[in-house]
Each structure stands twice: as C-alpha cells, then as structure tokens.
Subunit: 205 residues, 4 copies
C-alpha cells in the first residue's frame, strides 16, 4: 500500500465516511500545496499536546483555559456553577449541545461511550472506574443521567442507574433524574409514538 | 375534460398526491372491474350517511356507536371518562393517535384546522364558535391545548389561549396546560435544539 | 367493517399508498360536501364506459377520439404514423412519456405488465396472446422492445425476444431493437456503473 | 484559534463536510493515540512526494508505476493502449470510473475542473494551455469529450469543442465524439425526460 492508499484507509475510519468519500478526500488533499499539507500535518502532531482530558469530567479541553496547575477544564473550575449537581453524558459532543442551550449550570461527567445491549463487559465500554472514583471523592445533591432516546443509550442509562444504586448501597443515594420526555421541536402529534404522547401528557403544565 | 381527466383532478387534491401519482391512480382504477368500481362508488355516496360529526367534540364517528338519539360519539358518551377535562386538538387524526396511546381519558374538541400566522380571519379557519359554545355549556377543571410543535400549530395554541382568556374574563379560568416538551423517541442529545434541551431539563425527574 | 373502513381498505390498495395515508384520504373525503362525493362517485361508475381499451395497441383511450366504429385509439388510427414500426412497452404510462418526448412516430403495443424472474406462467402476466395475434395480422419492418432498465423489465425484454424468434421461426424476423443505453440527464460519470459507461462509449458519436 | 479549531476548519473545507461533521472528525482524532496521529501526519507530508502529476494526461499517479524517468503514468506509458484516441475528462475520479468499466483503451486528458456557465475566464478553470500543448505535440484520430450530463459539465464540453475547432483551424480536425446518451441502469421509462428518450431511440439497435 502506498501513501495515498494508506491515507484513504485512515479516512475510511472517520465517522460516517465510506470508501468513495475517502478517495475524494485524498484527491482533495492532492490539490493542496505542500505548505498547506505541512500545516495540516503539524496540527495533527500538536493536537494531543494542546488538547487535554479534564481529570474530573473527562471531557476534552484546550490548554488556553488551563490557567492553573489542576488541569481542570473551564467548566469544572467555574465557581459559579453548581458543583453538587452532576450530569452524566455519553460523549463530549453532548456537552457541546447542552452548553449551547444554556439550560444547565452544574458539572458533567463524560462516559466516553455507551454500553451495547447484552454486552459481556460493560465496564470496558465506558469510564466506569473514573465515575465511581468521582462519586467517592465528591458529594452530589442530584445526578442527572442524560442519554439519547434509543435502545443502546437507554440501556446505558439503566446500567448507570444500577451502578449508582450499588455505589450508594450504604449511604444516601442522591436524587437521580433523567431529562423529561415529551414533544420535541418539529414533532407532529399524529406521528408521535405512545411513549412520547404519554410522557408529554404526564409532563403537561 | 373527460371522465378520466376529472378523476385525475380529484386525486390531485388528495393530501400528499402530485400529478404523476394522480395519473397512476386513474390507471389503477382502469384495471379494476366494473363491479369493483361500482362498490367503490357506492361507498363514496354512503360515506356521509354513515359517518357523523359528534355535536360535542366535532370529531367524525360512525353510526354503529350511536346507540342513543344524542348523536354523541363513543368518547363523549363514555361515563368512565373525565368530562371535566378537555383536550383541544387540531384534527381528527390527532384524536386517533392519542386514543391509541391510552394516555388520556378526558374529552376532546377538534378544531378542524390550524390558524396560519398573520391570518386576517382566524375564526374562519377553526371551529371557534362551536368551541366557545362548549365552554359556555360545560364546566371544565382543566383545558389541555395539544398542538404539534411547529410555527403554525404553536401560533394556533397561542390564539386558542387568548380566546380562553377572553371567554373566562369574568369567571374563573380553568387550569390551562400544554403537553410537556422534552426528548422524544429517537432524539439524539447531540442534534437537539436548545428549546428541546431546556424543556427536557426542566421536566427532568 | 363499516363504510369508512372499507374505503380505507380500497385506498390501501392504491399504488404507493400505506395505511396512514389511506386513513388521511378518508378524512379528506369526510371534509367534502355530499355533492362533491356524489360527483366523484358518478365519475367512478362512468370511467369504464368512457375509457376503452384499443383493440390494436391495448392502451386505454377515451371515447372522444373514437370517431369511427373501429374502436381504435387515436395513435392506431393516425395515418401519418409509421404502421410498420412497432414499439412494445410494459404499461400505458410508458406510452404517455414517449408521446410527450415526440421522439417516436410508429405504433405501440402495451403488454400490461412485466414478467417476474423465475415466473412459472409468464403468458398470464402480459398480453402474450394479443401480441402474437397482432404479429400474425400485421407486417412490421421493425419491432422495438422498450422496457425500463431493471432486472424484471430486462427479463421481460428477453422473454419477448424469445417469443418473437419463435413466432417468426418460419418467416423473416423483422429488425428487432432496444433503446440505446448511455448517459441519461443528470448522470455523473464518477458514479456510473460499468454497463452504462460501456454502452455510452459504444454509442458515442 | 487553537489547534483543534484550526483542524476543524481544515475539515470543513473537505468535499461534502459540514461544520458538525468537521467537529466530529476532531473528536475522532482525539480518541487516537499519539502514534496513530504521527503516522497520519507523516503520510500527509509524504503525499506530494509519492504522488505525481503525469506530464501527459495530468492525472495523479503514484511513484510505484514510474519505472522510467519520463514521469509518465502507467496509462500513458502502456504501449497496448491506443495512443491516437484521446478522452478528455473533468477529474481524476472520472478516469477511475472509466478504467474500472474496462470499456476504454485509449489515452486520457484530465481538465482538472469544469467551466461555469457565464464564466469570464474559462482558461483559468481548466488545464487549457496544457491541453492545447498536447494537441500540438501529438496526433489523434479521435477525441472523446466525456463529461457528466448537467448544465455546467455540458457547457464545459461545448467550450472544449470550440477550443478544438480553433486549434485545428488550419489542419484536419480529428473525429470528435461524446459518449452516447440513453437509458442508464435503473432508468424507468415513465420518469425519463424527453432528451433521454429521444437519444435512447436514436441510439436503438
């Protein structure tokens, strides 16, 4: 395999990219100057030294926010946020969506994945050890398990709930919540499933 | 215009049907026997004499439920339902979805449409007179305005709310609610808009 | 089953219509006046008496064109067309598309269907007997087998070709052709399959 | 802008990639090891030194084929191909599709782009100078202008034809052809435009 084939293979592993688009990416790079490719190349090698994983919430963050030696991200260091409220999410990109909504001002914990249904080794699919350590180190008034609404994500939420119950077996379980279900933007009543309609009516106000 | 052109035109006015599909419908009918077409024809002329509009909720219902002389539909006659709870919906088909969800056991009122934004004559787009008559005739503890989540439907909900406020100006306004917003089945956190995330967090539990 | 259920069932058998749209069609009809439904009903019963099958090409045609007693359609009666050129198509709607293109001025024969691959009784799926009768009655210089480009349609073309060979076993087989393959409007070279590219290059000019 | 923002920006310029997917690409890279990123980085800097532009057809090719000092690609060096037949295509990726079809055994010339309709400076959008140089240097029996079937591509074909006519003003214009139009795989007669049907009938055989 030559250089362009190897690059094609790397692009094929990018999320959502098939063989044809991987090939187009290589052709796209071939139209760039050597200077542009060198800059791209340098950025790639720098990426890991400029992006850090926050040791508390485990989301990626960039050095510019790390004013102190703790290595904590801007959210975990923000004293104006509610540090007794924890939201557990599957991925970094979920934190992005939630921060953009300005609807939440507590802390986060990024699981780094979801647990497939019938998986034999769920602890290896998510940051289970790190989550339990955080729950040991800090006290929380409320833990929000915030996952997408599909079978694997809901299974992950159930698994996290069982972890929490076990962890707090001999102590007081904080309030555990999940985001409300209901009609979302664009929902047509006519095409809504019974689960969604039921939740929407229960949450009416 | 001959018979087949006229039929094509009728099919073009069916919801969601364009010119090409209208033409295919006519070709489809041409492959049917005269007997089949006669049966179809008879059903069409019978339709209005076997389907009635309930004088209370204004949804369509079929004669088989009308055991008494009131003309009321099976829902409006059902003494096990909560007749002090009213849900206002845009269309018959919304009642169908809600009944299938088994999440609601009060009464309905079918507006028969929605009010376009900036419409000059909203009263003509929905059953406004009939709604106000019902509110005069009956007492309700709760009125649920249940519309889809899109600009015209939400505008309709706002218009209905203003009607209610005016109608109950000199009397006690019943509790007025709308279905809860939040994550619906299939929602990905990552792709959710701020409105939906905010509602989902407010409705968490 | 009451009238509206029966109508819903009829609509479910319309081409491309699922259960939800069938229900919407019935609700659509319920919003029509009795007069409108009666007109629709009358058109349905009249359809078969105003639309005829041409005894020569077997396409549907409307009475207004039938000035003589032959019952022939306007195309089959048109003396300006080339009656020694025959195009065999699967459906009426194909004749419509071809006439609109003004690219053809011969006669047609409508098979009324296609022959599924591995079908045990191909003769029952198309107007085989009628086609063979036409080939016996008339002489042709060219027969064009014009089908869509998908496995079942191409199988039908192959089947028709074998019928022609057998029919003309002891006489001169007219020139038999199929429409040229190549790049069609909107085709991207990059996404074209090998068959299409090969035909396009063979047919270059 | 930090490293991850800059990478996101680079990915946004990849063909077919929007802001959301660009962000996902960066998150994807963050899950890779430093070793994997270094390898990716190295491949990028090597790309231009392992991929060459053929000085004759101007398509990209990889060093492994360049056995001689000419720098010519494997197609241009292949003595079994017809070097008096030239196919002019817009992009490298078109050569890939055509080679895969095994329908063509002449030479290629890659324009490197298309000429937008109403463009003021068409010569700058394609390798016009290089094409004219090739036409001066070599003799051809046939020139095939092979573009996709959409307005900009067909405009480019017309522009190339005018270039050819001017270039061969005082000498014999080789045979100039374009790939045949007609029904392509998946085409339904019913949905075909008049242009395609007309070409399909003209190219029938």
């Amino acid at each position: 395999m030559d250089t362009s084939d190897k690059l094609e293979e790397i692009f094929r592993n990018f999320p959502g990219i098939g063989p044809r688009q991987a090939k187009r990416f290589v052709y796209h790079l071939l139209t760039k100057s050597q200077n542009e490719l060198s800059e791209f190349s340098t950025l790639l090698t720098q990426l890991k030294s400029t992006v850090f994983i926050c040791p508390s919430c485990f989301r990626f963050h960039t050095q510019k926010y790390a004013l102190d030696q703790s290595g904590l991200c801007s959210i975990c260091r923000d004293q104006n946020r509610n540090h007794r409220q924890l939201m557990i999410v599957a991925r970094d990109i979920d934190v992005g969506a939630l921060e953009k909504s300005r609807a939440y001002s507590g802390r986060y914990f990024v699981l780094g994945g979801t647990v497939p249904i019938l998986d034999n080794d769920p602890a290896s699919k998510i940051r289970q050890k790190e989550l339990l350590q955080l729950l040991t180190d800090k006290e929380f008034d409320e833990i929000i398990i915030a996952t997408s609404i599909n079978p694997e994500s809901e299974h992950t939420a159930t698994y996290i709930l069982s972890l929490l119950k076990k962890h707090y077996e001999n102590s007081k379980l904080p309030k555990v919540t999940t985001p409300g279900r209901g009609l979302s933007t664009g929902t047509e009543l006519e095409y809504s499933d019974a689960d969604t309609l039921r939740s929407a009516l229960e949450n009416r106000r």
